[in-house]
Symmetry: C2
Subunit: 310 residues, 2 copies
C-alpha cells in the first residue's frame, strides 16, 4: 500500500528540479499527462501535497523539499546497489579512487605505490574530479573510496580515516609585494588589490557577491592563477599546481586541512579495507618524511570515528 517505486522517485525528482511538468516529462522521455498522474499518485499514496500548482509554474511545498532530499539519496543508493553488484560480478574489478585533480599529489603517489607493493592488491583506478564531486561519486557507487579534505568537504555519511594534516599557503605571482614575506595571515590576503579571491558556486549554483572571478572547475582556476589574476589559499601539498613564476607563502592562521580517505559505510569489502590500510600507511610515511624534512609538522588530532572496514 505504501512503498514508492524508483520510477516514481525519478519522476518526482525531475519535476522538482525543473519545476515544470512539461520540461520534466521531456527530460524523462515520456509525455506530460502520465507524469502528472504519477505525481498525483505519489501525493495520494503519501497523503501529502508535494507541489503548489500555481497555473504558472510549480513550487515545492515543505514536504516536497523533504522528499527531494530523501529521494536523491534513495536513488543514489539504488544506483549504487546496481553498480557495485555489476562490479562484484565481473572478474576484472579495479577499485575506483576519486580525488580532486591536483590535490594531495604526493600523498596519492605514495598511496598508489604502497598499495601496489602489497601482494595481491586489487588494481586501482584513479578518478579525478572537481571540487565537491567526490561525495556524489561515493554515494551512487561510481567510486569506492575518495580522498577528501576536512573541513572543506562534506564528510557526512562516510567513514573516514585521517591521513595527513597540513597548513595552507597563499599562491602569489613572484613579483607581488606580498611574495617576499615569510608568512602571511588571512587578514593580509583578504582584499589584496588586484588579486581578488576566486568565487565558487554555492550549492544552488549561484555565486556569492565579491570582486573575484567566478570559477566552476579547477582548470579554470588553474588558468586564472597562471594569468596572475587571482589569489589562492590552498593546502601546502597542492603545490603540484604551482607555476614557476609563482611563490607559495604560508598563511599561518588559515584553518588546517586534513586529508582523509573516505568510503561508504556500507561497503566493507576486503579490497576497500586493504586500500584504506595502504592509505594510512602512506599517510604515516609522509608524516615521517616531514619530520626528517625541515618543514612544519602537523599531526592529525581527531582519531578515526569508526574502525577500518573489515
Amino acid at each position: 500500500m505504501d512503498d514508492l517505486e524508483t520510477r516514481e522517485l525519478r519522476y518526482f525528482v525531475a519535476v522538482a528540479e525543473e519545476l515544470h511538468f512539461g520540461r520534466a516529462a521531456d527530460r524523462l522521455g515520456i509525455a506530460q499527462p502520465p507524469l502528472s498522474r504519477a505525481i498525483r499518485q505519489v501525493e495520494r499514496r503519501l497523503g501529502v501535497v508535494l507541489f503548489e500548482r500555481d497555473r504558472r509554474g510549480v513550487v515545492l511545498t515543505d514536504a516536497g523539499r523533504v522528499l527531494l532530499r530523501e529521494a536523491r539519496t534513495a536513488l543514489d543508493a539504488v544506483a549504487a546497489a546496481a553498480r557495485r553488484t555489476r562490479r562484484a560480478g565481473n572478474p576484472e574489478r579495479p577499485l575506483v579512487l576519486a580525488t580532486k585533480a591536483g590535490a594531495s599529489h604526493d600523498l596519492l603517489r605514495r598511496l598508489l605505490d604502497t598499495h601496489a607493493a602489497q601482494p595481491g592488491a586489487a588494481p586501482v583506478e584513479v578518478l579525478l574530479c572537481e571540487v565537491g564531486e567526490q561525495a556524489g561519486l561515493l554515494r551512487d557507487g561510481r567510486a569506492d573510496v575518495a580522498l577528501m579534505h576536512r573541513p572543506v568537504d562534506d564528510l557526512a555519511g562516510f567513514d573516514t580515516e585521517d591521513l595527513h594534516t597540513e597548513g595552507q599557503v597563499a599562491i602569489l605571482p613572484a613579483g607581488h609585494p606580498l611574495a617576499s614575506r615569510r608568512r602571511l595571515t588571512l587578514a593580509d590576503v583578504r582584499d589584496v588589490p588586484g588579486l581578488p579571491i576566486a568565487r565558487w558556486p554555492r550549492l544552488d549554483g549561484t555565486y556569492p557577491e565579491g570582486p573575484g572571478p567566478e570559477v566552476r572547475t579547477q582548470s579554470q582556476l588553474a588558468q586564472l592563477v597562471a594569468l596572475g589574476r587571482t589569489l589562492l589559499v590552498i593546502p601546502a601539498s597542492s603545490r603540484a599546481w604551482q607555476w614557476p613564476d609563482h611563490v607559495a607563502v604560508p598563511v599561518v592562521d588559515a584553518p588546517e586541512i586534513t586529508t582523509v580517505i573516505a568510503w561508504p559505510p556500507a561497503s566493507r569489502s576486503l579490497e576497500v579495507a586493504a586500500l584504506v590500510r595502504s592509505a594510512v600507511a602512506a599517510g604515516a610515511a609522509g608524516e615521517a618524511e616531514r619530520w626528517t624534512d625541515d618543514r612544519r609538522h602537523h599531526r592529525g588530532t581527531a582519531g578515526p570515528r569508526s574502525p577500518a572496514p573489515r
Copy 2:
C-alpha cells in the same frame, strides 16, 4: 535500461534471505513463477549471476552477497523517504528518539527536560528498542535521532555528537564474594563460577559458544540478572536497571562507553538540530553535576566528526 525497481529489490532480498523461491514467494504474497522470472530479469539486467541454483535450495554468489547488502540499505533509504515525507506533511510531527530501554536513563531525562524547556521545541516521542535496533530505525526513517553507545554500537553512516563518557560496572548479587570488592578487572569477572556472562546473538542469528545463557532482548537479560543467573558489565549510568539485592562494582579496565546522539546525515531539519543542541547541553549539564558529585569523571575525547545539523 539499467535502474532497478524497489519491487525487484524487495523480491531479491526475500529470496536471498529465505534461500528458497517458494518460501520467498509465499512471504511476498505472490506465486513462485513470477518471482523466478523477476530474479532472472534482474540478473540479466545487471549481467551478473546472483544465485547458484543447485536443484536443492539456492546459495548466494559473491555478487549476490554484495547486492543483498546494498539492496537492504537502498530499500531503507526508500522507506525513509516515504516516512519522512509523510511526517513533514503532517502538522503534528513529533521527533522520534530511539534509545535502548534502560540505558542512559538520567541523561535521557535531562535531555527531555532541557529540550522541553526550549521555546517552540518540537514534541519528542521516545522509542525504546532492543540492542542494536537503533541503526535500522534511523536508516529507514522510523526514528529521527537515537542515543547510541560507542564503541558497542555501529555508528557507521551517521553523524554523531558526544554527550557523555563513563566507565563500566559489574552487576553482582549482593552476597557474592566479588560484591565486596571496591573495584574489579575484566580478568576478575571473566569465568566467574556460577555467573557466566550472557551471550548475545551475532548478526546472523547464531550464538557464540560459551557457558552463559542465550539472550535476545533486554528484558530477558533483566530477568536473568534478577535471578542472579548471569553477570553483567554495563555502563555505570545503566544502573537504573539495578535490583535492590544487587550491587555495582566498577570494572576499572573495561572500555569506556561514550553515549552519543546520532542522526542520519541526510536529515538536517531545524527540529533535529534543536534536539541535538538540547542533548549536548544536557550532556554538559550531566558532566558538571559529576564534578560536584564525588564520582569518577570521564571526559569525551574525540570531537564531533561533523558539524551539528543546520
